[in-house]
């Protein structure tokens, strides 16, 4: 039986991942300017450990390794985690990357099946280990990320509902004192590259909007209640909790539609 070999109207998974990586380039450049070659080393090590973990998982599940690795999911996760975690503690970075990919992606059956986003999981793991040494506000990095996100949006590759929900809630909560969150690079990274992922969010636009808003509310209420500085880990934990709610949101918002 044939499969449709016809024209494609949208980029494939691999090309999507490539473009998401491209959108991260300004942020990487800024960090390189700030940290120097250490960043490159961290990027390299994280990527290698991500690929190893992905390959190991695939081998254990007896799947073809190369066709999946070349899709670039693992590389994207590794780069995101490098930008989120301190580059000073390389072993922690490598360990968190590898463990997150092995446990949160491969255990659940690879990309598309991963109910919980590995980047959020990796960040949470790191947060458990080193609560206080995560990077804080970094304005140039934030601007670079914002630029990358806008570029993705312009290319039509960003599923914008969930990030929009988050940003809306943060803006509404400005009187409570959530303004400093907007300067956190972790918030933008998670919003633009983690919350726009399909497999860990609800599938309907309405569900995604609710997901983003709920994540924002949870994060802001916790951050303002406790005045703890690491918004990234809090948001990551909220995202994980809400990812488990995604099937519920799907059930509530997804309907076969009107019969004609």
């Amino acid at each position: 039986m044939m499969s449709t070999p016809l024209i494609r109207l949208a980029p494939t998974l691999a090309s999507r991942n490539r473009q998401q990586l491209l959108a991260l380039l300004p942020a990487i450049a800024i960090l390189f300017w700030q940290l120097g070659p250490q960043l490159l080393l961290a990027l390299l090590l994280a990527t290698v450990s991500a690929l190893l973990a992905d390959g190991l998982g695939l081998a254990l599940r007896r799947q073809a390794i190369w066709p999946v690795l070349r899709q670039g999911d693992a590389v994207l996760s590794a780069v995101l985690l490098t930008l989120l975690l301190p580059t000073a503690t390389l072993p922690l970075l490598c360990m968190c990357t590898g463990a997150a990919i092995l446990l949160l992606r491969q255990l659940f059956g690879g990309s598309g099946s991963s109910l919980f986003h590995p980047v959020a999981g990796g960040l949470l793991l790191a947060g458990l280990w080193l609560p206080a040494s995560l990077p804080h506000a970094n304005l140039p990095l934030t601007l670079a990320l914002l630029a990358g996100g806008l570029w993705l949006l312009w290319r039509g590759l960003l599923r914008w509902q969930a990030p929009l929900g988050l940003v809306l809630v943060v803006l509404i909560a400005l009187p409570v004192g959530s303004g400093w969150l907007l300067g956190q690079s972790a918030l933008w990274l998670l919003a633009g590259w983690v919350m726009s992922d399909g497999s860990s969010t609800p599938i309907t636009p309405r569900g995604r909007l609710i997901y983003g808003q709920a994540a924002g509310m949870l994060c802001i209420s916790l951050v303002t209640l406790t005045t703890s500085p690491d918004a990234g880990v809090t948001l990551a934990a909220s995202l994980l909790l809400l990812s488990a709610t995604a099937p519920l949101l799907d059930k509530l918002t997804l309907s076969p539609g009107r019969r004609t």
């Binding site: 059956g109 919980f116 916790l222 488990a244 709610t245 059930k251």
Partner: protein, 184 residues
């Protein structure tokens, strides 16, 4: 006791509740209503227990807190169970609101509430009670809807069926622990 421990405990309790449900298709169709019903029942029992504690305080009854808490939670669970049995036996059976499960939930979710640091003022304790039951209902609803989604995941063979919920519960518990640790 603090929230960092209490919230993961709720995850475990919710998973327990879910696994005790029968695994036939009728039960699967009723999973979400059953989860919400159990969450509401737990809310009723916790609110009732807290209210009775306040009442006991105003009446001047002096008992060790542990004994009082166990008595109040057991009492409210049995009260609710008998009321449900009296008023709507059929749907109660259908939704799995068995008295042993009510008692378990009442004790496991209710007792730690008395020892949380927020239990100092009446308003904060009410707030903690409402929040934790809301979270518990959410968790029950999550476990009711997760299996349908997990079916579509390419999980390894040794993680099929109810076992697939274990890693999910672990991850949720981890997330809640790190959130709860911030609250305490």
């Amino acid at each position: 006791m603090n929230f960092g421990l209490y919230l993961p405990l709720l995850v475990g309790l919710a998973l327990c509740n879910h696994c005790r449900r029968p695994a036939d298709s009728q039960a699967a169709a009723q999973a979400l209503p059953a989860a919400i019903a159990m969450g509401l029942a737990t809310a009723i029992m916790l609110l009732l227990g807290g209210g009775l504690l306040a009442l006991a305080g105003s009446l001047g009854i002096v008992l060790p807190l542990a004994l009082l808490a166990v008595m109040l939670q057991t009492g409210s669970a049995l009260l609710l169970a008998s009321a449900l049995q009296r008023l709507a036996a059929g749907p109660t059976m259908q939704l799995g609101l068995h008295w042993t499960r009510l008692l378990l939930n009442s004790l496991a979710a209710g007792l730690p509430l008395y020892y949380l640091p927020s239990a100092s003022g009446p308003l904060t304790s009410l707030f903690a009670c409402v929040l934790s039951t809301a979270l518990f209902t959410l968790l029950l609803a999550q476990f009711a809807t997760l299996p349908a989604r997990l079916q579509r995941c390419a999980l390894p063979a040794w993680l099929h069926g109810q076992r697939a919920l274990l890693p999910c519960a672990l991850i949720i518990a981890l997330a809640l622990h790190s959130l709860g640790a911030r609250l305490s």
